[in-house]
């Protein structure tokens, strides 16, 4: 019933017997049922699947935003469901970066302030933090837009800011939910490459939910969520992975 993502020692993410159900009116909808999976450190994973298949739900469960109905998610040896709400928030703040389809930038903060926010939340807003934020802005080619507000940027630019923000506090795990879903094809491709490059540079682990097969081409492993199972699609994976 389950698909083993990887079984090498010391995976970053460990999913055991994960079940998630939702109440929809009178009936219960099962998204996952006793799912087992693990993700190695510095791996790039792409999750494919049609809309409503549960890609976002899985990302939410891995980040601790949502809690499983049964089973457990362990990230860096920490069982998320064993943590309190505040502990999960603090864990997320330190170890996880997020990239969304709709960017979710804070519109009342400038580009630079958006980047500095995770550092401030982690108490790391020092000179090194500022320097790293500037470095990331250079890396996403937005150094000249540091003082702009998000609504002055194009969609692609906003997503680049979101990627930089997700990496600025050097998280172990990066979760991206349809990061190109709101971008044109070319911009989407550039964004994916940037995301891959920066993840590799940061030696982080990336789990990305996407519709795009182009995204799959950048992944170490690709899975399709079908019904409530994970099916590996080796043919779509990055060559040499």
């Amino acid at each position: 019933m389950s698909e083993q993502i990887n079984s090498t020692a010391g995976p970053l993410v460990n999913i055991r017997g994960l079940t998630k159900t939702y109440q929809e009116g009178d009936r219960q909808r099962v998204v996952f049922c006793e799912l087992d999976a693990s993700v190695e450190r510095e791996e790039i994973i792409v999750l494919l699947g049609r809309s409503g298949s549960g890609k976002s739900t899985l990302l939410n469960l891995i980040s601790g935003i949502d809690l499983p109905t049964a089973g457990s998610v362990t990230v860096d040896d920490v069982v998320l469901s064993a943590l309190s709400e505040t502990e999960r928030t603090l864990f997320r703040r330190r170890n996880i970066g997020f990239v969304f389809q709709f960017f979710n930038l804070i519109h009342t903060l400038t580009v630079e302030e958006n980047l500095l926010l995770p550092l401030e939340l982690n108490g790391a807003l020092d000179e090194t933090g500022h320097a790293f934020a500037r470095e990331l802005l250079l890396a996403v080619s937005l150094a000249d837009r540091a003082q702009s507000y998000p609504d002055r940027l194009s969609g692609g630019e906003q997503q680049r800011v979101a990627i930089a923000r997700a990496l600025v506090h050097k998280p172990l795990l990066l979760l991206a939910d349809e990061p190109t879903g709101n971008l044109d094809r070319d911009t989407g491709q550039q964004t994916l490459k940037l995301l891959q490059r920066l993840t590799r540079d940061a030696r982080a682990t990336l789990i990305m939910a996407s519709h795009s097969t182009e995204a799959a081409g950048l992944a170490d492993r690709v899975f399709n969520i079908e019904r409530d199972r994970l099916i590996r699609l080796p043919g779509l994976e990055r060559r040499g992975a």
């Binding site: 939410n60 980040s63 935003i65 949502d66 709400e85 505040t86 928030t89 603090l90 997320r92 703040r93 330190r94 997020f98 969304f100 979710n104 930038l105 804070i106 519109h107 009342t108 903060l109 302030e113 500095l116 926010l117 995770p118 401030e120 939340l121 982690n122 609504d151 969609g155 906003q158 923000r165």
Partner: protein, 844 residues
């Protein structure tokens, strides 16, 4: 912190929202501060004038309606050896040459007085003191009062007391040492005690005797009691001040409560705006939570934002309150003067405690209003926060449950109000529960009304009409709260409006039933000393003999001071027929008349019965010339004239127990067919030389209603202010709702909605919400009015009022909500029709 910046910029980017909420807080705080300052200024003025003019004393010896014989003072000093004592003769006088001015006339025993007060230390020069002592009809004024009136030393001041005019020569001036003395000494004339006795018609008598008895010297007190004749009593100083303070307490408490109502309305509006700002930022809050911002941080952020709005609003509100307070103090003092006692306050005193209380109220109300939205913002799971549709679905699911909770709260409130208690706190808690319960019911009721209106709106306006109805239901998380807050705001205006109207109705009905005589004659009365305003005994016979007079009845108004408190006594010499003007709570006038004519019987007014917990058949104790006597209550009558209550007894009973034979007023009944105007002229002719007031039935009725309206003018002002707060609330909330829908409206424009249809959609939607708010405000307003009239007023003043619901007030409430709502739609509709859809569709 970066998060602080994000909050601050959010506030700066929504100036309409922030500006209107600041204004909402400011108006609420302003009303509360203004009323508090006006009340405090009046109370302080009263206390300071008591302290400054009376000086320090520990006990007072008080007598009957005509005070005490002077001999009591002599016996006290000589027989009992009480040196720390002073005689007091004081009263009020009008100054015909300065219309509208009332002077307090204080007779000072210059030898005994020094120990009692320090403020009169600079009582003019030695020569002036000698003149005061040796020359009759001389007096001293405060220098600032004299300057105001343009009086110089040697000038004559005409003073009219009880219909008689006297002249007093001003021999010197006192300089007020500080602003407090300045206020207290304003409109005071100091004379030698003999002069005061002469002017006030109290030759050989004193109003009271003040004593200083240090500690609890019971032996000395016993010695004092031993020399006191029957009909006199000794009361502690604080009892007297307390009694006067208590007299206006209910009035002040009610004003404060009404001002708090304005603040409550403001609080609801802040709640609405904070909820709106939270709902609007749900996605943003979700993003922040994903980034690792804790629930606590989100909570603190939202409460801090509210605090910023609260601080701005409170600062503005306190400033506005001080300005408004200056306007209100005059009205409060005028009401106190009309109803209770003479007080002179020319400007508001900036009482730090009042300002502090206003600040605490403003900030407290804002933070309290923000707590629930802040909690709501942090409570939802992050995954749900990121999905708008979940919010709306949840709001619609919650509405019926909230309605059940609301119904339970309304029931609880009604039960609290119905509890047989005298507690005002309980009554206000009941009223509050009623309001909260109704607010919880309203979102569900809005959905129900919208379902009912769907067909009509669709038929009337087509697509925009249908979209408007659906829009209200689809965004219930925003619209439900807005309609609730607005309904509460409008209902306050409706409730207070009905209360004032019911009061007026009851009062006018009572006046019509009570004023049966054709002509009323009285000495000009100044409230503190009704006993002193008497009519010449010969005048009664002269007026009775005037052609066209069928019958006369006379009466006497007396204030009885006693350790247990002050009693307003009304003495009537009337006929059984005229006695019919009394409206009794139980029993008929004829049988009560028979009992009343009997031995030691009285009838009491409803407020008296309520405050003293007495009913028919009970007895009350009154201090007569022969000491305390029990009187049986044979009837309780309706009366809206005096809230402290009155005891009415027949002249025959009064004369049996008191030696006072004076008359305060005469009621004249015209012979059938007599022209009242001509009779009035003949009576004025017969009374020539006496300064008395002769008024026709119509003129007295008019004057009474005028006093009533003046009394309620302040309540009407408060109602107006609450209405303005409500109006701004409706306007701001609905305008904000529409402005924030810019993107949605742009999609509709892009889809093919014409600018005209957009106008229709926006105004229909705001109009529908305004209509719902106005509609729900009607039953809630009536409920509030019932609580105010039947419970709160009864517990404050002891009055039972007839509830009178003027349809016009209900229409006004509905129109208020509707007009404000329609106006609220104008700007967003205008803005959206002018903005190209493409621009509005840009990602914000």
């Amino acid at each position: 912190m970066i998060l602080d910046r994000a909050s601050l910029r959010y506030l700066l980017r929504h100036p309409w929202l922030v500006g209107l909420s600041v204004l909402g807080v400011a108006l609420g705080v302003a009303v509360a501060v203004a009323v508090d300052l006006a009340n405090e200024s009046a109370r302080r003025a009263f206390q300071l004038s008591v302290e400054t003019l009376s000086g320090r004393f520990t006990h007072q010896i008080v007598g009957g309606p005509n005070g005490l014989p002077e001999s009591v003072y002599r016996r006290l000093r000589v027989d009992a050896g009480v040196r720390s004592s002073r005689p007091v003769v004081e009263g009020y006088a009008r100054a015909p040459q300065f219309p509208g001015e009332t002077f307090q006339l204080i007779g000072v025993d210059l030898f005994a007085d020094a120990e009692f007060r320090s403020d009169f230390g600079g009582l003019g020069t030695r020569a002036a003191v000698t003149r005061l002592l040796t020359q009759p009809a001389t007096g001293v004024l405060a220098r600032h009062s004299a300057r105001r009136l343009g009086l110089n030393a040697g000038d004559t001041l005409m003073l009219s007391v009880g219909g008689q005019t006297h002249s007093v020569t001003i021999v010197d001036f006192i300089d007020a040492a500080d602003p407090v003395s300045r206020q207290a000494l304003d409109a005071v004339v100091l004379t030698d005690i003999a002069t005061a006795q002469e002017l006030l018609g109290m030759r050989g008598r004193l109003n009271r005797i003040d004593l200083i008895i240090s500690g609890d010297n019971s032996a000395l007190l016993e010695r004092v009691r031993a020399v006191l004749p029957a009909g006199t009593d000794i009361v502690r100083a604080e009892q007297r001040s307390l009694a006067l303070d208590q007299m206006t307490r209910a009035f002040r408490v009610n004003l404060t409560a009404l001002s708090l109502l304005a603040l409550l309305v403001g609080t609801f509006l802040i709640y609405n705006i904070m909820t709106f700002s939270v709902i609007q930022r749900r996605a943003l809050i979700g993003s922040l939570r994903v980034l690792g911002v804790t629930r606590r941080q989100i909570f603190v952020r939202i409460v801090t934002e509210a605090l910023v709005i609260g601080l701005l609003g409170t600062a503005l509100g306190v400033a506005l309150g001080i300005m408004l307070g200056n306007g209100l103090v005059e009205r409060v003092v005028r009401t106190i003067n009309d109803l209770y006692f003479v007080l002179s306050v020319r400007e508001v005193t900036l009482v730090p405690w009042s300002l502090l209380r206003g600040t605490a109220l403003g900030l407290g109300a804002t933070v309290a209003a923000a707590l629930l939205p802040a909690w709501e913002a942090t409570r939802a799971p992050v995954s749900a926060v990121l999905r708008r549709s979940t919010t709306e679905a949840r709001a619609r699911q919650l509405a019926p449950r909230a309605a059940v909770a609301g119904l339970a709260t309304v029931t609880l409130g009604t039960m609290l109000l119905a509890l047989p208690s005298r507690s005002l706190l309980l009554a206000y808690s009941g009223l509050f529960a009623l309001i909260i319960g109704a607010a919880l019911l309203i979102p569900w009721a809005t959905m129900a009304v919208m379902r009912g209106l769907q067909g009509v709106m669709g038929a009337g306006l087509g697509v925009p009409g249908r979209l408007a109805v659906r829009g209200v239901v689809a965004t219930l998380s925003r619209t439900g709260v807005a309609v609730s807050a607005l309904a509460v705001a409008v209902s306050a205006s409706v409730g207070v409006g009905i209360m004032i109207e019911s009061f007026r109705h009851s009062f006018v009905d009572w006046l019509t039933a009570t004023l049966r005589a054709d002509i009323y004659v009285a000495a000009p009365v100044i409230h503190t000393s009704p006993s002193a305003a008497t009519l010449d005994a010969g005048l009664v016979a002269r007026l009775a003999a005037v052609r066209g007079v069928a019958a006369i009845s006379t009466g006497r108004r007396v204030r009885l001071d006693a350790p247990a408190g002050t009693t307003q006594l009304f003495v009537l010499d009337t006929t059984q027929q005229n006695f019919q003007s009394y409206q009794f709570k139980r029993g008929d006038a004829d049988s009560i008349w028979k009992l009343w004519q009997g031995t030691d019987a009285v009838i009491v007014s409803e407020p008296y019965a309520y405050h003293h917990i007495v009913d028919m058949g009970d007895t009350i104790q009154l201090r007569t010339d022969d000491g305390e006597r029990a009187f049986t209550v044979v009837g309780v009558y309706t009366e809206y004239g005096a809230d402290e209550g009155r005891v009415t007894m027949s002249r025959r009973t009064y004369d049996r127990h008191w030696s006072d034979r004076a008359i305060t007023f005469i009621r004249i009944y015209a012979r059938a067919g007599t022209d009242v105007a001509e009779l009035l002229a003949r009576l004025r002719g017969a009374a020539a030389g006496h300064e008395i007031r002769i008024r026709s039935h119509a003129s007295l009725r008019e004057a009474s209603i005028e006093v009533f309206d003046r009394t309620f003018a302040i309540t009407a002002v408060l109602r107006l202010l609450a209405t303005i707060v409500a109006f701004i609330g409706v306007l701001s909330a609905l305008m904000a709702l529409q402005l924030e829908r810019a993107r949605e409206l742009a999609i509709l424009r892009a889809t093919g909605l014409t600018p005209r249809q957009l106008w229709q959609l926006v105004t229909a939607e705001t109009g529908l919400m305004g209509f719902c708010a106005g509609l729900f405000a009607i039953p809630l307003g009536i409920g509030m009015a019932l609580a105010l009239i039947l419970v709160i007023n009864r517990r404050s003043f002891g009055w039972t009022l007839q509830v009178s619901v003027e349809p016009m007030i209900l229409v006004q409430g509905l129109l208020l909500a509707l007009i404000a709502a329609l106006l609220a739609g104008l700007y967003p509709a205008f803005k959206m029709t002018r903005t190209p859809p493409a621009l509005a569709l840009r990602e914000e």
